[in-house]
């Protein structure tokens, strides 16, 4: 417990250090899974936050709207250096990918309709679909507590995919029902 931390204590982390760390993650986290890159940098390499805080921030970030990558950047940056820390963390996280995808947009406008490119993009889209389903299974495994949760998952997916309910409406109605289902019970441990 008393072993000295190799990295600087959180109160000594500077704004440029935060920017560099998040820029590096934003530039190297190829293939998604940015949460794993975040953990290895923030918890293991820099030791700016511990695992418990990381998991708590992740839960908050997943509950609020916004992508995991940017929500984690905001929460960790804020914890380290307040509003400025949050701002540079988000900018560092977003900048490389945004520039790359801007360039992709330009290239798509020029070459997107060429037969060879379309053929390759069909393959890319098929592989990305496999990736997205794998990610869904992975987050589903972590999030689900029982049969009721599975019903909420399938009910939400069916509402949007089969019955074309707007995402926003599905979120409001099914979110409210699901929160009510998980409401604090009278015998809950959090009482008092």
């Amino acid at each position: 417990m008393s072993s000295p931390a190799p990295g600087p204590a959180p109160e000594q982390v500077t704004v440029p250090q935060i920017f560099r760390a998040f820029l590096l993650i934003g530039a190297t986290s190829f293939g998604g899974g940015v949460v794993a890159y975040l953990r290895s940098s923030l918890v293991e390499k820099h030791r700016w936050i511990d695992d418990r805080t990381f998991v708590e921030f992740l839960a908050i970030g997943q509950t609020l709207p916004g992508l995991n990558a940017t929500n984690m950047s905001v929460l960790v940056g804020d914890r380290l250096r307040g509003a400025v820390g949050a701002a540079v963390a988000v900018i560092g996280m977003c900048l490389p990918g945004a520039l790359l995808m801007f360039a992709a947009g330009v290239a798509f406008g020029i070459h997107g309709n060429r037969t060879v490119v379309v053929a390759m993009l069909h393959g890319v889209a098929a592989a990305a679909t496999g990736l997205v389903f794998a990610l869904t299974v992975q987050i589903g495994k972590k999030a689900l507590g029982g049969i009721a949760d599975l019903v909420f998952v399938l009910g939400t997916a069916a509402a949007v995919s089969l019955f074309h309910v707007k995402v926003f409406h599905a979120l409001l109605v099914l979110g409210a029902i699901s929160i009510w289902w998980h409401r604090p019970r009278a015998d809950g441990t959090a009482a008092g």
Binding site: G31, G33, V34, I60, G61, T63, L64, P65, G66, L67, A69, T70, N71, V74, C94, G97, A98, L100, M101, F102, A104, G105, V106, F108, G109, T115, V116, M120, L121, H122, G123, V124, A125, A126, A127, T129, G130, L131, V132, A134, T136, I139, G140, A143, L144, A148, D149, F152, V153, T156, A157, V160, V167, F168, A170, L174, I179, W180, H182, R183
Partner: protein, 176 residues
């Protein structure tokens, strides 16, 4: 140029739907970009979105490509700001409050309650993407192979998507 306010409004709205991940907003993204505003064809969106899965950082940077496609560099900037700023501000504000509410009894109820709904939204997004991407048997086989490999190993998905490009080059070259 007059597309900019529309771009800002649409992507600010979409950003609020990204609960549990960017994929949760995909059905609405497709509806707005393809059906309502005709900024891209369904195939174009599927292709760009899939390329975006290879990019580092937040996995919805496809919005930068869409903004560029519609209104050039300024469009790209407007869309990225509209898509990220609202949720960044919400997370900043609510995040501070949320940490303080550690003993509020409804806090866990909200986290536990929204989790399955957000997984359902991500699943719906995946289904919408699949409808646009898996148009023939070779595509289904590629998707299934990537899905199974990722569940059984820790290979970086970017390599698998690059592999998809190579297989697509060979398998689909004659299709179009």
């Amino acid at each position: 140029m007059n597309e900019l306010p529309t771009l800002a409004r649409v992507f600010a709205y979409l950003s609020l739907l990204t609960i549990g991940g960017g994929m949760a907003a995909y059905p609405a993204l497709e509806h707005e970009v393809v059906d309502v505003h005709h900024w891209l064809t369904m195939q174009g969106l599927v292709h760009l979105y899939s390329v975006g899965q290879m990019a580092p950082g937040p996995n919805m940077m496809v919005v930068a490509s869409i903004g560029e496609h519609v209104a050039g560099p300024l469009g790209s900037l407007v869309v990225v700001l509209a898509f990220f700023l609202p949720t960044v501000l919400i997370t900043f504000g609510v995040g501070r409050l949320w940490v303080k509410l550690e003993r509020w009894r409804w806090r866990n109820a909200i986290q536990q309650g929204l989790a399955p709904v957000s997984v359902g939204l991500v699943l719906a997004g995946a289904i919408t993407l699949a409808k646009g991407a898996l148009l023939d048997w070779p595509a289904v086989v590629i998707a299934l192979a990537v899905f199974l490999i990722l569940l059984r190993s820790k290979v970086n998905p970017a390599y698998l998507i690059l592999g998809g490009a190579v297989i697509g080059f060979v398998a689909f070259k004659g299709v179009n």
